[in-house]
Subunit: 342 residues, 2 copies
DNA sequence: CTGAAAGCGCTTACAG
DNA sequence: CTGAAAGCGCTTACAG
């Protein structure tokens, strides 16, 4: 705290009131006359007292006023993923005005021992930025602390979550592609499980991804009657999408679906690189609805999730948990936005 | 904290030692026999005690163990700027293993009252992610708290800073462009001052930008003998660069310089849009050295700053401030990386 | 509406 | 090497 020299006790003395009364002047948590309050505040101003020490108040109250935000399992990756960052933005801008601090926590890698902050930092609740994948050691560490968490993108089975209707969205996209006459659809999915590495996924199997987001999105496509002619799982970076696109194009698809906009942008670049016209020779679609100003003339067909709102909902859920509430899982709608690429 | 039922007092009692001894077993801050320590730790494990309450320890120690990180003045903008995000990444990954928490703070807008977190959250020091511009109300709020800060990119006049030799870098770039025979160089700079809006900047004046980063980079170009034929100030987003490019191309430059890679990428897109070949018809260069996988065949000529290292240095400076040290301003080298665009 | 008292959980001189 | 005591700065029942 860089403990300020003057304390509430000093202020009380200067104002000629008791410590409890001085406390009330700041917290407003009890009855106090306007005159007394003014007197205390004036004394505080006089002494340069800036308000109650948050650490001391936390100790007494039993709450830290801090919400942890755990980035996706690969920290550096999460920091390159605009969707995670926009979630974070939504969370911070929701928490700060409500007087809650946002403590940024790097998730531990799958096998690593969890970070000291994850296991010991003072917080009242945490937001788990799942993305498709969360390392089990991170979840275990949080559980061992009995720290209540809200997951973004999770299945909602292990506590409250904020999720999008990805399945419905992908079904809409699948139907859209079928209406356009596409029968050969190749898909670059998000990872199927924790620690999965980039590469092809066998098609024609009914195997379902362990990662909930990946599973739900694939379910949606299948519900629309789209059975991929080729699949590739990868992270959500443009590079990943480019690599996926190069591999998937070998199957001569007429449409490419990426499970994120960054992946889809990579698919689009791979298609251009192969000399294909979009959408005449091949259609491309994504998921997220983020801005990609560098795509030039193209606007990606995509499923728009309300990312900032999801961040806000996650933050509000975390606050509710922090004060002992039991927030429910919230599911938000996604919207099919048809661009120039399908 | 979701205060755990069992406290150090319980552990001490169970282990049959005094509270002070139990404390020593965890902190290691004093002499304690291995046998006693084991006894305490065993009792703790037995009771499911997870270590000293950080809030209580903070109060007693007079330090919170938290470093604030203030994002650039426009929060949403900072979250879209990969350079800020990579600084943040470097900071978090440095602080966490050293047991320091990273509290993310939205800077107040230029005229807004500073956020409650900024004025009251518990922290020992802060990193100011200046970018080119920091709102004065933010700085004032921090100063009123007497919170020691380290600035990234600042001039280093108002306390320790971590900065790059941008002037040297830009001089190298200017010389490179002159060697290539360019005499008509148009420049898209970062903002010249707090709250500046995008738009043209008068050339042929010796006026110097108020924003230190902008000033130093422009100085560097001028030292190389490059006097811009046109200037445009803007934020560091691709869209900004595109708009800048469209405006600057009217002056028929043979080279475009962006004060960030995102701006330069926008310039490149504007040049392509105008049907110009790069670098045959026009050269383009940037600043930062970030990955831009979506530029396709092109690799931007740019000045590479060691972003992650700068984040690390800022974090270490903040820790030093937190424990009462007086870290010095650190200046790191930048490197000219010649790509395919010049 | 105001005050006296207890206590949040811990760390750190200080004795022994 | 271990223990008894003080106290970090505050909030909150509880009396009055």
């Amino acid at each position: 705290m860089g403990r300020s020299a003057t304390t509430l006790t000093d202020v009380a003395r200067a104002a000629g009131v008791s410590l409890s009364t001085a406390s009330l002047a700041f917290s407003g948590a009890g009855p106090i006359s306007a005159a007394t309050k003014d007197k205390v505040l004036a004394a505080a101003a006089e002494l340069g007292y800036r308000g109650p020490d948050p650490v001391a108040a936390s100790l007494r109250r039993g709450r830290s006023g801090v919400i942890g935000v755990v980035m996706g399992s690969a920290v550096r990756r999460s920091f390159r993923d605009p969707v995670s960052i926009q979630f974070l933005d939504g969370i911070v801008t929701t928490l700060a005005p409500k007087g809650y601090g946002t403590l940024l926590l790097p998730a531990s890698a799958a096998d690593e021992t969890p970070d000291a902050m994850l296991t010991h930092a003072a917080m009242d609740a945490a937001v788990l930025m799942a993305g498709a994948v969360t390392s089990t050691s991170t979840i275990a560490a949080l559980r061992a602390r009995k720290l209540p968490t809200v997951q973004i993108g999770g299945a909602g089975r292990q506590g409250p979550a904020v999720r999008a209707r990805d399945k419905d969205g992908m079904r809409m996209l699948g139907e859209h592609l079928r209406e356009r006459g596409h029968t050969r659809v190749a898909v670059a999915t998000l990872p199927w499980s924790n620690g999965a590495t980039s590469g092809p996924v066998e098609v024609g199997t009914t195997r379902r991804p362990a990662a909930p987001i990946t599973a739900r999105r694939l379910d949606g496509l299948r519900e629309a009657g789209v059975e991929p002619v080729a699949m590739w799982q990868c992270g959500s970076l443009v590079e990943d999408g480019i690599a996926a696109g190069r591999a998937l194009l070998a199957e001569r698809p007429t449409a490419l679906v990426g499970f994120s906009d960054l992946i889809a942008a990579g698919l689009l670049l791979a298609a251009r690189e192969a000399g294909l016209r979009v959408p005449e020779d091949i259609a491309v679609a994504g998921f997220d609805g983020i801005d990609l100003p560098w795509l030039g003339e193209d606007t990606l067909t995509t499923l728009v999730q309300p990312i900032a709102e999801m961040g806000r909902l996650a933050a509000e859920g975390a606050i509710s948990l922090a004060v002992g509430g039991s927030p429910k899982t919230v599911t938000v709608d996604v919207e099919l936005r048809i661009g120039t690429t399908t």
